[in-house]
Subunit: 338 residues, 2 copies
DNA sequence: ATGAAAGCGCTAACAT
DNA sequence: ATGTTAGCGCTTTCAT
């Protein structure tokens, strides 16, 4: 920058002001400086700027597993809005491990990111409180939400889950099991809650042998489902609470040489990629993951501009995609009324 | 840091050296400094350090579409190795647009990343040469490779593609079409080359009406395939060059109410996620995307440590997953000899 | 309208 | 073994 100043016969201050438009500069000198800038192929140094301004225009994003399409979509959404606002994005993967998540946050802080988006907080919140202290960095939660007042964006869960169970009940199913996954995860807990409410509203008793919980991996789901699906006592319909769970159920069906909806109906919360093209064609609730990412970034920008804004929780509506696996007639009304 | 120095009755230099272990410090003072560090909850400022050291310990990664599982996997691999080496990762998405890609690179440079990984360079290389000037930043290409000498890691393409076509030929197919996509993309060109070589070796003439090229999107593939698949003149087998292409073909099959392998056999280069669980069960060549990401990061680290190292090109072997869509008997020998 | 200079938080060369 | 200090590249206050 000193070189530029020299070449244009001005001070570094003027060069800086030309670059940033931070104070009026006489047309002629501005042109001279711009020419020098061009000639030298000048590129600003964001580090040095950040040192002075103490804002890096960088956000940190931590996701639990970038391999899963839904996270890819969230990342995509964040990236898009970040770019639009001139922000760079740092990414870390936590492998759904609270320890790694905290470490990622610390690293981000060392790099002085302006804010952090946690796309799927580990639900084991040890050390989490510390991150939330007001003196701490702006934070937005994505997907897995906390109960306290925070900036966060997720998808509606209870209502949609209730409605797809309603949908099954309305189409004559009365023995519906839920493959709920790990109920200590808030999101999954909420989905279970929707299931419970639907049964409740229809006066169907909740049977504990129709709730498959405490299964965390696709493999565990697959193993757990086999005994449940064999024999005549099996449920007539299944709702699954996440992509991995659905995959596990499909594995079990395969193992038993069973078909959906012929042998058991199936509705999945979350969609498997390219679901359109494959059999079974699974009726699904689809989360608007890209938009969720966009909203998260916008929420963060808002907070950066106005640190004292009220914390906001955004819940986006998922889409209902009616396919064949629920075994309902094609003309059956959408449970989402759309 | 000045506060720490005060509290421990030493100079900032000593504090710095305790933190970095850059010079011997008397046990007792070290302990005193460490205590002060702890008490103050000191966190180093990587920006300031980067200013001095002129290395940020940050790498920039640009992918064309984080939404696609294969990129998620590469990102995962890079993230893992980066973390292990104490590097942070910046991510940008280029939407397969050369312009955006260049902009992402520029932004990364402004942030002074130590190196850049380009996970799928846009093949329109305008302005690309500029990025490659020796005075420029260390660069590693991922997936789409360049012909010149550069650090880059990809998967083998020609050989594996040749072998899966061999596999089809060996099992009695002699009319095999390739859905090759956009042949100006080097990777896709290579896959086509493998197809060509296989036909050549078997003395099967290459027919231009058996090469579907110049299709870029899933939708275009779907539309282009319909006329080809109708009627008795249709090919007996299809090889597809990428995930999106495979998806397009599946769409066309669906439109025509056709099945694979019953109506036409299919082998896909690249695998659709959760392919295990769905019908049709597509015989596929699977790229080790996570490892590719890991290797890319390691190559970059090597270059950073030794700027004068010879450029290295790494080609990883894909896996062959034999399923039903190729219509070959289950016991047919693996074309990859494994 | 422009310039001089301090300083952001560190590291490292040079002293002692 | 430890301390002093210049300076990384910029922004911005205070002068002129």
């Amino acid at each position: 920058m000193a070189d530029i100043a020299n070449a244009a016969n001005v001070s570094v201050a003027t060069v800086s002001h030309v670059i940033n438009g931070t104070r009026p500069v006489k047309e002629s000198t501005r042109l001279r400086v711009e020419a020098a800038l061009d000639a030298a192929g000048y590129r600003r140094d964001r580090l040095a700027r950040a040192m002075r301004r103490s804002t890096t225009e960088t956000v940190g994003v931590v996701v639990s597993d970038p391999t899963q399409p839904v996270f890819g979509q969230m990342i995509q959404g964040v990236a898009k809005e970040a770019r639009a606002a001139g922000y760079a994005m740092m990414l870390a993967s936590s492998a759904d491990d609270g320890q790694q998540e905290l470490e990622a946050i610390k690293t981000f802080k060392e790099h002085r990111v302006d804010g952090i988006i946690l796309a799927e907080v580990s639900h084991d919140l040890a050390g989490f409180d510390e991150m939330l202290r007001p003196d701490s960095i702006p934070l937005v939660l994505l997907d897995r939400l906390a109960s306290r007042r925070l900036d966060q964006v997720g998808a509606e869960t209870v209502g949609p889950m209730k409605r797809i169970v309603d949908h099954l009940i309305g189409n004559g199913y009365d023995d519906i099991a839920i493959v709920a996954g790990d109920l200590s995860v808030p999101t999954l807990q909420e989905r279970f809650e929707g299931y419970r409410q639907a049964l409740d509203a229809a006066d169907i008793p909740l049977r504990s042998d129709r709730v498959v919980d405490d299964v965390r991996t696709e493999r565990e789901v697959r193993a757990a489902m086999r005994p449940i699906l064999q024999g005549n006592e099996r449920p007539r319909a299944l709702v699954t609470s996440s992509t991995n769970i659905t995959a596990g159920v499909l594995g079990a069906l395969h193992d038993l040489d069973m078909r959906t909806p012929r042998d058991v109906a199936l509705v999945s919360f979350d969609e498997l990629p390219y679901a359109e093209h494959f059999a079974p064609r699974i009726t699904s609730v689809v989360q608007p993951a890209v938009q969720m990412g966009e909203h998260a970034m916008r929420l963060l920008l808002r907070r950066l501009r106005n640190p004292d804004a009220q914390a906001r929780t955004i819940r986006l509506k998922p889409r209902f995609v009616h396919r064949q696996s629920c075994g309902c007639p094609a003309g059956a009304p959408s449970p989402f009324g759309d």
